[in-house]
């Protein structure tokens, strides 16, 4: 029931959502619209520990403020930033790079898990290509026949999100050319079905379909 003493969102959550916009590429409205903000903040705190989360958050706040973006984060903080972004996009906490897992001295097992059934349903990744989560939010009979809308362009995305010139990449010199996406940014074949999405290897460079055997 409406409790006049507790706000719709706490200041912590508000701050979390505001600075997750440059991580996820989605607006505050979209992030709140998942209904998961508070739950995700709790999850991140629990997964990296409250103190380390506070350190990470201070670093990320500074990186946004001084215009450095993700590439000015330390490697461990970069991995945490990835995990937070993965969480928003998929509803799951990912498997971290083992080196980051060790450096953070994390208690929980380094395994991917879905935060809650409703978290999967609120994954943002589906919206990046104008889709809907498999098994939820069905769009209606015959809608799959309609041509999908064109790819949104980066300038208007930045503009809509009020994000200016901040570089949103690490370890890459320029924006990825969409007509020549490198294999290390794409998933490759899952060797077995139990491999969680965050542990799927990247694609090998453009494969050759045949090879001679001696």
């Amino acid at each position: 029931m409406s409790d006049p003493t507790s706000p719709a969102v706490t200041a912590d959550v508000q701050d979390f959502v505001e600075l997750c916009v440059p991580l996820t590429g989605f607006s505050e409205f979209d992030l709140y619209a998942t209904g998961m903000a508070e739950r995700y903040l709790e999850t991140v705190r629990q997964q990296v520990g409250p103190d380390r989360f506070a350190e990470f958050w201070a670093a990320w706040t500074a990186a946004v403020a001084d215009g450095g973006g993700p590439q000015s984060l330390s490697p461990v903080h970069l991995e945490v930033a990835r995990a937070v972004t993965y969480l928003w996009h998929t509803g799951a906490w990912p498997r971290l790079a083992p080196a980051a897992h060790a450096a953070l001295r994390r208690q929980p097992a380094n395994e991917e898990f879905v935060v809650a059934p409703e978290a999967y349903v609120e994954g943002l990744v589906w919206r990046t290509f104008h889709g809907h989560p498999g098994g939820a939010k069905p769009p209606g009979f015959g809608t799959w026949s309609v041509q999908p809308p064109p790819q949104s362009d980066i300038l208007s995305l930045r503009q809509d999100l009020g994000l200016g010139e901040l570089p949103f990449r690490a370890g890459l010199t320029a924006e990825v050319a969409l007509d020549a996406v490198p294999g290390h940014l794409l998933p490759g074949l899952r060797a077995a079905r139990y491999v969680p999405p965050s542990a799927v290897p990247t694609a090998a460079e453009r494969p050759d379909t045949s090879r001679e055997r001696a």
Partner: protein, 652 residues
């Protein structure tokens, strides 16, 4: 629906028919016989629950929570009635040359050269709870590949014999399709036939591919050019009723447990593992229409078929089963139930397991042999960036295919294949779209476990994902595997489940004809991608020493390819039908040759599976068997000889 009952109640009576298994075949057959007035008991090994709406929502929620959204991810594992899962298989890192490249760590014991990568489900409704709903008929030539092309086993019946049964099955389960297109393929022969519902609308991806209609594609193994044409796939999925259907009007069925729901597919795009609205047909619908003559008991694991006394001419008297209350515990209690006819409808592998354990029907030594599946080779590519996104992850799993490689003389040189145009991007091959997020961000570290330096965020991430997911194309190509007696289910007393039942031991491999089909399919897919100006990212080679499951290499004309296949869930062939008891297990009515009142129904009876998803053929056969069982029972129950009325008989 009279609801399910417990074992104690179930065994109070003698039945006309006991059906082992509450999946597709068992449910359809039980309903048919029950409607004819016979007393039928259906024994389901698995749990029930999904027939109530809260129970169904629980399955949906279980699926949402699963990290690996595999076909069984909506259902909990069971100790009392264990079942195989695709998660049971693991690749072996750096395998020795010639050694097995996988381990099997679940319900199946596997000792074959290649893994049997198919699962099923022991749960009320069976594996049909997670099936896709693809229901193409088989082609006339599929029934006689040996006679026509010199490979595989032939059927004792023809496609023409099955046509009326196909039509009935399509009514019972509710099929949406384009009959004209199926007539063009030669699989529907009645010139006036229409399906109960109009075809499921084609996806945008289908339309994108239709641009290649008329383009010839070289299959160098068959040494033939095949002109492409996209055909709509018949599906057991609710669509718009076709007013021309006779006898009409056809009304799509609602969800079981929630009235007026699921009357159309609404595009959840998750048919496998679970259709959230139940627009996809499943056996619980049949069960909801069971007449009062049919009794269903869940959590009853049939352990043995009982042979009747020596004077009974090889007849069986009933079955033994163990009933349990807690799926997490192996504790149970044994019962015997008797019936006039016993029907095994428990999945090809479970039927074989029961026959082998019971020591029945195996005079031909064919029980458990000829195990088949549709080895499925995945091909994935990114569509041309200039033409924009194609709209993956929308609509049913696949709505159209390229059919031309299924038929004709090419079958002599390689197994035929059906190209499914996938609607769900790279999901099956790579775990997309979640894995796209991970690799674009660079989360999870590199090969050595170090933190990766590269990755994108924010608007750049959104843009990259929009493009690299939005352009995903995947062709799943199901290759025919023909009957080979070496591919088999056996039992070994050393391998038991927690309740003491013997687990299936599988020996599986692909023969050169099938391997050549996989090889040809891979190259054809590559050519199609080329024609679409798509970038082919398919790669089945071992990665960092880890071969993908189902990996093998195959050489044709001096060229060797790394290939890999996945299981399609189409287990078949373990109690094949034939025209002679010498070399087959059941006759053309799926009645065991040796036991006149023991039927083994399901895909296990199929001598070949062509390139059609086998469920519809299985159901046509089941309905045909139901008719025969009815005739058997009538004969059994009628007096052998009725004298004319004038012969001084006293009226009752």
């Amino acid at each position: 629906m009279t609801g399910t009952v417990g074992a104690d109640e179930a065994v109070r009576r003698r039945y006309d028919v006991v059906v082992v298994g509450g999946g597709w075949a068992g449910s359809l057959l039980a309903k048919d016989l029950g409607e004819r007035g016979w007393q039928v008991l259906v024994l389901e090994a698995g749990n029930g629950g999904a027939e109530t709406w809260p129970g169904y929502l629980d399955s949906l929620s279980t699926f949402y929570s699963a990290v690996a959204k595999v076909p069984n991810s909506g259902y909990r594992r069971s100790v009392a009635a264990p079942f195989p899962d695709v998660l049971d298989l693991a690749p072996v890192r750096d395998p020795e040359p010639g050694e097995r490249e996988y381990t099997a760590n679940g319900y199946f014991v596997q000792n074959g050269r290649l893994p049997y990568g198919t699962d099923y489900l022991r749960e009320l409704g069976g594996a049909a709870m997670h099936w896709l709903g693809a229901v193409p008929r088989m082609h006339p030539e599929d029934f006689a590949t040996n006679e026509r092309f010199g490979y595989g086993r032939d059927w004792p019946i023809t496609a023409a014999d099955l046509q009326p049964w196909y039509a009935r099955a399509e009514f019972e389960i509710g099929v949406a399709g384009d009959a004209q297109g199926q007539r063009e393929l030669g699989v529907v022969t009645d010139p006036d036939y229409v399906f109960p519902m109009h075809q499921i609308p084609a996806s945008w991806i289908d339309r994108y591919c239709t641009g290649l209609d008329g383009t010839p594609i070289l299959d160098e193994v068959a040494d033939e050019q095949y002109p492409l044409k996209v055909h709509s796939l018949p599906q057991a999925r609710n669509s718009t009723p076709n007013p021309d259907y006779r006898p009409g009007p056809y009304r799509p069925s609602s969800a079981v447990g929630l009235p007026n729901y699921g009357e159309r597919c609404v595009g959840n795009a998750s048919c496998v593992p679970i259709c959230p609205v139940q627009a996809k047909s499943h056996p619980l619908r049949q069960q909801a229409r069971f007449p009062r003559t049919v009794t269903t008991a869940t959590r009853c694991v049939v352990t043995r078929v009982r042979l009747a006394g020596p004077t009974m001419g090889g007849r069986v008297s009933g079955v033994e089963f163990r009933a349990y209350t807690d799926p997490a515990s192996p504790v149970g209690r044994s019962y015997v139930v008797e019936a006039g006819v016993v029907v095994l409808a428990a999945h090809a592998i479970e039927n074989a397991r029961l026959l082998l354990f019971s020591g029945l029907a195996n005079g031909s030594d064919q029980v458990g042999r000829n195990l088949m599946d549709h080895p499925t080779v995945l091909n994935w590519a990114l569509a041309d960036e200039r033409r924009g996104p194609v709209g993956p992850f929308r609509g049913p799993g696949h709505t159209s295919g390229w059919e031309v490689f299924r038929f004709g003389e090419g079958r002599r040189r390689r197994a035929p294949f059906r190209i499914e145009i996938g609607n769900w991007g790279w999901g099956w091959a790579t775990g997309a779209p979640m894995s796209n997020v991970a690799t674009a961000l660079g989360v999870g570290g590199d090969r050595q476990g170090e933190i990766r330096p590269d990755g994108v965020f924010g608007p750049e991430l959104r843009r990259l994902l929009g493009s690299t997911i939005g352009r995903q194309l995947q062709l799943q190509i199901a290759v025919e595997q023909s009957a080979n007696p070496g591919n088999r289910v056996t039992l070994d007393r050393r391998h038991r489940d927690a309740t003491g039942n013997l687990r299936p031991v599988l020996t599986y491999d692909l023969d050169p004809h099938t391997r050549s089909g996989v090889y040809a399919a891979r190259l054809v897919a590559a050519r199609i991608f080329q024609r679409l100006d798509a970038t082919d990212w398919t790669n089945h080679a071992p990665r960092d020493g880890v071969p993908p499951l189902g990996h093998f290499t195959h050489t044709v004309d001096g060229t060797t390819l790394d290939l890999a296949y996945s299981g399609a869930g189409h287990g078949a062939g373990t109690h094949v039908m034939g025209s002679s008891p010498r070399d087959s297990v059941v006759d053309a009515f799926q009645r065991t040759w040796e036991h006149p009142n023991l039927y083994a129904v399901g895909c296990g009876s199929m001598p070949s599976i062509g390139t059609s998803n086998p469920t519809l053929t299985m159901l046509a056969l089941a309905l045909r068997s139901a008719e025969q069982i009815h005739q058997d029972l009538v004969l059994d129950r009628r007096p052998a000889d009725v004298r004319p009325a004038d012969e001084a008989e006293v009226p009752a």
